[in-house]
Amino acid sequence: MNSVGEACTDLKREYDQCFNRWFAEKFLKGDRSGDPCTETFRRYQRCVQKAIKEKDIPVDGVDFMGPNKDKPES
């Protein structure tokens, strides 16, 4: 599965692998011992937030410039 930002797909896959393993082997089994994915998540997030701004995707709670959601193609 790709990321919304083409450049972020590799970072996303790295994070997803880490998360899916932690989710299945720790979280669902009630093991709350630390999240090993914080660093890879941070890297992935930096890329995604940038892509969202660039593509003007009107995400709730993300810094979005301008009030209009349906801007014409510039």
Binding site: F23, F27, G30, V48, I57
Partner: protein, 190 residues
């Protein structure tokens, strides 16, 4: 409009699969998924906020007129996994084309009350079409699409679960293979 269906796998298996739902052949229009935020609350539940991009496959001539970026629909999803109560709840709505239509979907995955090896999936969709006189017709059309999709939801889970099981078997077979080869070599040497 609430529907429910059951998946013949325990809740943990279905929840793992649901987290990795895309891509799957039953939902070909979902082309991108990103996690925007994730965290565990004070009750130990995992909250995730995700962004899904979907491509409805408009003919290329339409795309060339309205521009590529405008053919994507974006959906924002908020989900909560409670590993103690064994519930996985998702809620999603479109964040583009909101001036025309609003599709708000809710899904819950819970263990079957009588059989821990099965999971109940309930789906509800609230659709509103704004300022269009054909609204009840369009709502009817979309409602029947979503009703078809309820069965697809279960099929998608079965597909992802089979894929995950196949990956595990492949790993096990590879491990067996590496152990067998040196033993076979030892036998033939004699």
């Amino acid at each position: 409009m609430v529907q429910w269906t059951s998946v013949d796998h325990p809740w943990e298996t279905v929840t793992k699969a649901a987290m990795q739902k895309y891509p799957n052949p039953m939902n070909p229009s979902v082309i991108g998924v990103d996690v925007l935020d994730r965290g565990i609350d004070k009750q130990g539940r995992l909250h995730s906020k995700r962004l899904l991009s979907t491509e409805w496959g408009l003919p290329s001539i339409v795309k060339s007129i309205i521009g590529n970026a405008r053919t994507y629909t974006y959906v924002q999803e908020h989900s909560v996994v409670d590993p103690m109560e064994k519930t996985f709840e998702l809620q999603s709505s479109n964040i583009t084309f909101t001036n025309m239509v609003s599709v708000d979907e809710r899904l819950t995955y819970k263990p079957h009350p009588e059989d821990p090896n099965r999971t109940i999936l309930t789906q509800e969709a609230i659709i509103s079409v704004k300022g269009v006189s054909l609204s009840s017709y369009l709502e009817g059309v979309m409602a029947s699409t979503i009703s078809t999709n309820a069965g697809k939801g279960r099929e998608a889970m079965e597909w992802v679960i089979r894929r995950l099981n196949a990956e595990i078997e492949e790993l096990a077979a590879t491990a067996r293979g590496t152990i067998r080869t040196p033993m076979a070599a030892a036998v033939t040497e004699k």
